[in-house]
Symmetry: C2
DNA sequence: AATAGAAATGAGAATCTTAATCATCTGAGC
DNA sequence: GCTCAGATGATTAAGATTCTCATTTCTATT
């Protein structure tokens, strides 16, 4: 558990923050909603309020420790920032989220923005499709 | 005003639907929130409820008459479907929305998805940056 | 043009996600 | 251990969107 990240971000090392960080680090699902993290906390017997989960996640985002993603659906999901930028593919059937990075797309985005007179600062790219892997529980028979 | 579009979609031709379609067709801003459309209706003296605006826009979306976009910010915006698919660039300063289409990005997205075992169905791509045009009222001096 | 039936509307309530409030509690340094 | 700034939690609030249901409006038919 990297408590040093918290200190670096100017955040006190508290139990809620450590527990939330731990869940983000150890959950096999890398993209978790605030609600999902809250439920995991409850399940492991922690008495941490939902408001704290939202507050802490927002602070983590500001500190660059996590990324907030708005996938289709009503609630945002959070993922631990592991260094490299990447975009996402989401399975319409099973909801599985895969990460990818494509330099061609990245470069092209910069070019397009420039042509339109924009200095690009950020982008949001999410692909939606159907898993054709055996991994997807909903794949067509 | 294309009332035939409504009929084709199996929607009764009613005053609220025609008025909302008219606003989408004639507004100089091509990307409007439900709230913004509602305000335009009120300004032109129409007695149309906000619930109806949301309902009608959702139906229009299902019928393929409009697209719903989730730009950063809390509310979705709607744009009239004019045939061609495109993505968007948004100015962080003035909120201006530009449309673009780039075949290289489109193709690359399909390739990436395929490599990850997905049959891509849809995607959401939004670039965020700062206008460097004289058009942007907030451009750096 | 009057009418009936189905569909659409409007006002407000409800829902859902997220943020704000504020009194109480806790961690870091002394 | 003590102090106090900062953090927490329970609740309330806010904003966007959807739902409910009684009333109204189209469309097709007399």
């Amino acid at each position: 558990m990297e408590t040093s990240n918290l200190k670096k971000a100017g955040l006190k090392v508290t139990l809620p923050r450590m527990k939330i960080l731990e869940i983000l680090e150890t959950s096999e699902t890398r993209h978790l909603s605030a609600e999902a993290i809250y439920r995991e906390l409850l399940d492991s017997g922690e008495e941490i309020g939902l408001a704290t989960v939202y507050r802490v996640l927002t602070q983590f985002e500001a500190a660059g420790l996590v990324c907030r993603l708005h996938l289709e659906g009503n609630q945002a999901v959070f993922e631990l920032e592991r260094g490299g930028h990447h975009d996402h593919i989401v399975c319409n059937q099973c909801g599985r989220v895969e990460e990818f990075f494509d330099e061609t797309i990245e470069r092209r985005q910069r070019d397009v923005a420039q042509h339109h007179g924009f200095a690009i600062k950020d982008h949001a790219l999410v692909l939606y499709g159907d898993c054709v892997d055996s991994a997807c529980p909903h794949r067509p028979a």
